[in-house]
Symmetry: C2
Subunit: 259 residues, 2 copies
DNA sequence: CGTCGAGTTGACATAATTCAAGTAAGGTGG
DNA sequence: CCACCTTACTTGAATTATGTCAACTCGACG
């Protein structure tokens, strides 16, 4: 039997239902029974995906978006000269593929960095939410707006900060976002990306990422050991990297009433 | 008497009502009478703003968003070292300040590059749209998603393209976006930004922007005369700058029915 | 007529890339 | 279980793109 009501677990999060969407949206507000039922109805069966798989290819037709349940995903664009820009790292709980809501052809590719579990959702189902569960539609809007602001921070990072700062900001962002879903993570986490991938995210070469991570380690700001990164002085690193954690305070006050 | 029905004017756009919002959303779909009435009800009186005014200051409390009716606005962030990243240029028809929907404190500043006319709108009114006019809420979502994809293109531009390409892409973006609202603009437009401002948008210094614009002119891709820019070979410039016009095709098929 | 902001240009400094070579680590087949 | 192969990481030297600093021009404006 599905658990339909919010239960506080040790992490302080509500476990709401088997639905990924309900799980994600339930982090922000307490969902009603009818909202949960609606989400379960429109959600397709969850799918397992092997590491390295391309979930979505740039310019291909798409009509699905996903909630990522387990694993890491990157979204990226390829440029004419063969270089790659990683637009976003996606962690468990994230909405992915939301750009396909607006375009029939995907503006970016999505690739599985690790084995995944994803929950697909046809974008046409959004209409049902807008018609019958306005609060859920508003929550999805709200999440995508927070993503927007986060992207804005990255733009400033690439446009106006040093290589060292860009790498530092990326690491802090990873730590904070992983921590929201997994309270076991405090300051250490497995860095599942290659240095080249970090470079493609930060607008640098892999070689230079290597030097910058070394430099950060020498400064005592981070430590590395067999694939794990530890933030040793988060305050100083945030200061040096111009990093702000945007996850603190979302304004939910304007949301419509639940139905 | 207000004109409530869509009328095709010489530019092929529907003139819908005195409401800025209705005007903007009416570009995408044919609005119903009740939708227009709802927009007019929640929209505050339009406001004139002098060039140079700060509409919104980073970290200040905000609860309004705007539609820009006339003039140019920039949104930007300041970094700790005093450098500035311009996040977005805003032209007539744009929604501005949408990030404040999610946060109580503004994540970025908004400044008037020219004299403006803006139409303010309290974010709490969004609730009314979600409750009573789902299609309008969905349209706003759709517009912000298109903005998101556009930001994504800029990220790739800053992260992975040369200074010349960044300046080229910025100029093409300006041309295309100005053209959507003003059909008189074909390939020439007044460049109301200083070279330093262009630099702050492209992640470059003003001095280097100067050199790159000169280089683009020498290549025959653009021409400049007393504050105006002309795109002389848009195809070649787009090619060289890795620029794609994303305005072509928004997918409206999933929108809920009008009320 | 003088001042001020913006654009222009040159010389020099520096950050990041490129190229190249070598090392460590993990996975696979015999 | 070892030998091999591949992939990622590391490091140095040379190169290039972009930034910095400083001086000069030009036009707008009071």
């Amino acid at each position: 039997m599905k658990r339909l009501f919010r239960i506080e677990n040790e992490a302080g999060r509500g476990i709401v239902s088997d639905s990924c969407f309900a799980e994600r949206l339930g982090q922000l507000v307490e969902l009603t029974r009818s909202e949960i039922a609606a989400l379960e109805r429109i959600e397709e069966r969850q799918r397992e995906v092997k590491r390295g798989t391309l979930l979505q290819r740039e310019n291909d037709e798409v009509s699905e978006l996903f909630v990522l349940r387990h694993g890491w995903v990157i979204s990226y664009m390829m440029l004419a000269d063969g270089s790659r820009q990683i637009l976003r790292l996606h962690f468990p709980g994230d909405f992915i593929g939301t750009a396909s809501i607006v375009y029939e052809q995907a503006p970016s590719s999505l690739a599985a960095i690790t084995d995944l579990v994803i929950c697909p959702f046809d974008k046409r189902a959004l209409r049902i939410l807008y018609d019958e569960h306005p609060r859920l539609a508003a929550l999805i809007f709200l999440i995508t707006q927070a993503e927007h602001v986060s992207l804005t921070d990255r733009l400033a990072s690439l446009g106006r900060t040093s290589a060292k700062a860009r790498v530092g900001a990326l690491l802090l962002d990873m730590r904070d976002r992983l921590r929201t879903m997994d309270k076991d993570i405090v300051d250490s986490f497995p860095l599942k990306l290659t240095q080249e991938e970090i470079g493609d995210a930060a607008g640098l070469t892999g070689v230079h990422v290597n030097r910058m991570m070394r430099a950060l380690a020498e400064d005592g700001l981070i430590a590395r050991s067999n694939g794990n990164v530890t933030i040793r002085d988060g305050e100083a690193l945030a200061e040096a990297s111009n990093y702000v954690n945007r996850f603190a305070t979302l304004d939910l006050s304007w949301l419509p009433k639940a139905r």
